[in-house]
């Protein structure tokens, strides 16, 4: 419970899309502060027009995404005591997205991509009018629903971070998580595999796992969302045996009864 104050020194990128530079600020801080607290102090004491997005300050809304010492992090969940005393901390905006001002970037790319994903389409209800799903079926999808849309995975993904031209044909990790959630939803009937392969560009991902490393919600993006989607794509488009099996089965195949899960290979 030491209330000793010491100074925090932060080098923050200040500027707009026409340019800018790093400015260094020093403000006093107290124990338990996070990077966002220091930025708020800088706003109150040094730079009232310093732009930063934030809302909940508890790691639940995913607004305060930025790059701290070159790591994609939430400002509100990065404690100051994780840095060496006196260390100058570099804070810059997410570099994958166009800058608006200071630490605020234009993340509309993500909202546009979200619009391209076909909606959830449930199968008919049970005979008793209920919807039954079992915990073992949804555990895997609930992990994906933890996503707070901080877009740090999008920021860190080199496919769009380093190759601007790929933005047209690549949805990014956040939306692979979303697509995986829909594809693995026990009630959903929409087929999005062609979209995942083509428009969402799953093949661009070379599973280097940076998205998983930066996820503040600890979603295993690569292992649990992207790779299972890649495997589904393989079955649908690349696996000759699966293709033969589909051809053979589709002749005498029966339609799945209501309430029965469709075999994924019959989704096409």
């Amino acid at each position: 419970m030491t209330d000793e104050t010491r100074d925090a020194t932060m080098s923050i990128w200040r500027g707009t899309k026409t340019g800018g530079r790093f400015e260094t600020y020093t403000v006093p801080m107290v124990e338990g502060m996070v990077v966002l607290d220091v930025i708020h102090r800088i706003q109150a004491l040094r730079a009232p027009d310093l732009a930063v997005r934030w809302n909940c300050k508890a790691g639940k809304c995913g607004s305060c995404s930025a790059e701290i010492n070159g790591h994609a992090r939430l400002l509100c969940m990065t404690r100051m005591n994780t840095f060496a005393p006196g260390e100058e901390i570099t804070v810059s905006p997410m570099k994958t997205f166009p800058i608006i001002k200071d630490l605020v970037t234009d993340v509309s790319f993500n909202y546009e991509k979200a619009k391209e994903i076909p909606a959830f389409k449930p199968k008919p209800k049970e005979a008793d009018g209920t919807r039954r799903m079992y915990q073992e079926d949804i555990d895997r999808v609930q992990e994906f629903h933890k996503c707070i849309e901080c877009f740090l995975c999008q920021d860190t993904c080199h496919v769009i971070r380093d190759h601007e031209e790929n933005k047209k044909a690549f949805a990014g990790p956040r939306f692979f998580v979303r697509l995986a959630a829909l594809e693995m939803h026990p009630l959903d009937t929409n087929d999005r595999l062609e979209l995942i392969r083509q428009k969402a560009g799953l093949g661009f991902c070379n599973i280097t796992k940076c998205c998983t490393e930066v996820c503040p919600e600890d979603i295993h993006i690569t292992d649990n969302a992207i790779i299972p989607l890649k495997e589904r794509i393989v079955t649908e488009f690349y696996d000759p045996l699966a293709w033969v099996k589909r051809r053979v089965l589709s002749k005498g195949a029966q339609q799945p009864g209501p309430g029965e899960p469709e075999p994924p290979s019959a989704k096409a």
Binding site: D49, R53, N55, C56, K57, K60, I100, K101, R131
Partner: protein
């Protein structure tokens, strides 16, 4: 000002605020055929609804067959100390199950019972385990599902756009006016109907669970447009907010901790809540620890643990314990689930809480008790609405969610907020769409727009000396100290005087920089709403000379049956706040009997 060439959009219905209520209203209005826009201060999906943790209260009867809307209605009314608008509470209890099932229809994945239905959890003030939930991140699930549904319905969304004025034409709604946060440029919406879903104003307090968005803009705009506010004195202090470290003081700790078995103790290790059971709830509440613990498993033969009394009771009890010197080192009490549930159970049921304490306070809640204390959480009061359509007293204006009043009376039960958002969000959307379809577009009055624009740009004029951040800190200090959990006439008088001064000083606020994404300017504008709302709160609190729910007067410690029949109404006339009392709507006799009936004592 009009020379600027103000950007203008016209809609049948605009919905202000994109939390649960706003999204649900927009979906409904759009489905009813109204040309609808959704306008929000933050990015879509970041609204305060994401912070809701515990669950959505709805009498689905999946866990306890005995549960139904009547029990839920009774719990809600009793929790609200009978100050609720009975019809709202009834509609809410009746419709909440459908609204929850509707979310499932749109893709939500609630935790399941073993036979595949929606699992429900215990929460304060609810007779049965009633809250549909997703671990402790129910709000996130709800906002994401609604957000995706709204996007797929093609509703126009204006993000990071702050509205500052409702425009009226002959006393009826004509549109709204505000600015883009990104560019600072003005934007004008012509609209036949406006749905306010802007939440409360907890950011006027220092220790609060609310985010920066909670500045009471909707309440202030509605007041300026001429509408009635009610119950502005009713502010809920959530009993369990974090108390350490200082920078996260106030951050919410879900009631689900207690719902899942957590208990409150003081620094003597005593479960003090048994000393604070009020007469009103005595028949429903366990007398001893044995009964309280048995209740989690067997609700038929045991009564509810006092740890799960309604929030106002628990918050006051904690306040008293801390003042009596029985608090923790950081000025709270202990909330202990570590000694009562297994680490696996805690991590499965309360993953966000586990993370929150681990990351922000270096505390492992599976081995250590949490330190918690009350935090400003929720406005029960706000815009007075008509129950069926959520229409405010100004024609064309509708309100749903925290900005609206009546549903929760003097105190809201946990879990009733998310269901409120859905039930009345939908009703407001439908009401606004229906209103818009039978009214003509109103003319926008340029004079109103110009006056608003001039006032909004005033902080750039550079004549004043006030810093918005410093002024905000003073406001928070004032409200925390003088209009907190326990109130007295003298302190309220002092608060009102201070707020009057702050109200003058806010006109002298000056900001640096330009209009482009300038947080100092944004705060300067938000401060005006916060001060207005604070004034309404302090003055209403002074007027209500009794203690009831979220309003506790040290100088009037008892609930007064006469005051229990009245709402405090706030209006703005000629630029001045006017307060009055008006009688509550009369509750039908059979519902009154339902509410007052004593629960059967366990054998």
């Amino acid at each position: 000002m009009s020379k600027e060439g103000i950007e203008r959009h016209d809609y049948d219905v605009i919905v202000v605020g994109a939390g649960g209520a706003g999204l649900r209203a927009a979906i409904e209005a759009s489905a009813a055929g109204a040309h609808t826009a959704l306008i929000c201060k933050s990015l879509l999906g970041k609204a305060h609804t994401v912070m809701a943790e515990g669950g959505i209260a709805a009498a689905l009867g999946n866990v306890w067959k005995e549960d139904n809307w009547r029990v839920h209605f009774r719990d809600t009314m009793r929790g609200g100390k009978l100050l609720n608008n009975w019809r709202m509470a009834q509609l809410h209890a009746q419709e909440a199950p459908d609204r929850v099932l509707e979310l499932e229809e749109w893709g939500a994945l609630f935790d399941r019972t073993s036979d595949g239905l929606i699992l429900q959890r215990d929460f304060g003030g609810h007779r049965y385990a009633r809250l549909a939930h997703v671990g402790d991140r129910t709000g996130l699930e709800m906002i994401r599902i609604l957000q995706q549904h709204a996007v797929h319905k093609g509703i126009d969304v204006y993000m990071e756009c702050t509205l500052q004025r409702l425009l009226t034409d002959g006393g009826k709604i004509a549109g709204a006016f505000g600015y883009w946060r990104e560019s600072g440029k003005f934007v004008l919406f012509g609209a036949r109907a406006v749905v306010l879903a802007t939440g409360g104003g907890g950011k006027a307090w220092k220790i609060t669970s609310n985010s920066w968005e909670y500045t009471g803009d909707g309440i202030a705009m509605a007041l300026d447009a001429g509408t009635d506010l009610i119950d502005m004195e009713m502010v809920q202090f959530h009993p369990t907010g974090m108390v350490w470290p200082p920078s996260v003081r106030g951050l919410l700790v879900t009631e689900g901790v207690r719902g899942d078995g957590g208990m409150l103790t003081n620094n003597e290790g005593k479960r003090f809540m048994f000393d604070y059971i009020p007469e009103f709830f005595r028949a429903d509440t366990a007398e001893n620890e044995r009964e309280a613990d048995a209740w989690y498993e067997d609700k038929k033969n045991n009564r509810r643990t006092p740890d799960l009394l309604p929030r106002d009771e628990v918050a006051r009890a904690i306040n008293t314990e801390v003042k009596a010197g029985r608090g923790t080192p950081h000025g709270g009490v202990y909330l202990d689930i570590a000694s009562r549930r297994s680490p696996e159970f805690i991590k499965k049921r309360l993953p966000s809480m586990y993370q929150q304490f681990k990351q922000l306070a270096d505390v492992d809640i599976t081995t250590t008790a949490m330190e918690i204390g009350p935090t400003c959480h929720y406005f029960m009061g706000g815009v007075r609405v008509e129950p069926e359509t959520a229409a405010a007293t100004v024609p064309g204006l509708f309100a749903a969610g925290e900005v609206a009043a009546g549903m929760h009376g003097a105190n809201r039960l946990g879990g009733n907020s998310l269901s409120d958002l859905l039930v009345f969000g939908r009703r407001a959307g439908a009401g606004a769409a229906a209103y818009a379809s039978r009214t003509n577009a109103r003319a926008v009055d340029d004079a109103q727009v110009e006056a608003a624009a001039r006032s909004m740009l005033a902080p750039f004029d550079g004549e004043g000396t006030e810093n918005p951040y410093a002024l905000h800190a003073e406001l928070q200090e004032t409200m925390q100290r003088l209009v907190g959990i326990i109130r007295t006439e003298a302190e309220l008088q002092q608060a009102i005087a201070t707020l009057d001064v702050l109200g003058e000083r806010v006109d002298r606020v000056t900001v640096e920089g330009n209009r482009q994404f300038n947080p100092g300017w944004h705060l300067a504008l938000d401060l005006r709403s916060m001060i207005t709302v604070s004034k309404a709160c302090a003055r209403s609190a002074l007027m209500r000379q009794e203690s009831r729910g979220g309003h506790t007067r040290d100088d009037y410690q008892k609930a007064d049956p006469e005051w229990g029949k009245k709402n405090v109404v706030t209006r703005k006339r000629g630029g001045q706040l006017e307060l009055a009392t008006e009688p509550l709507p009369q509750i039908p006799e059979e519902l009154r009997q339902l509410v007052l009936a004593e629960e059967k004592q366990p054998a």
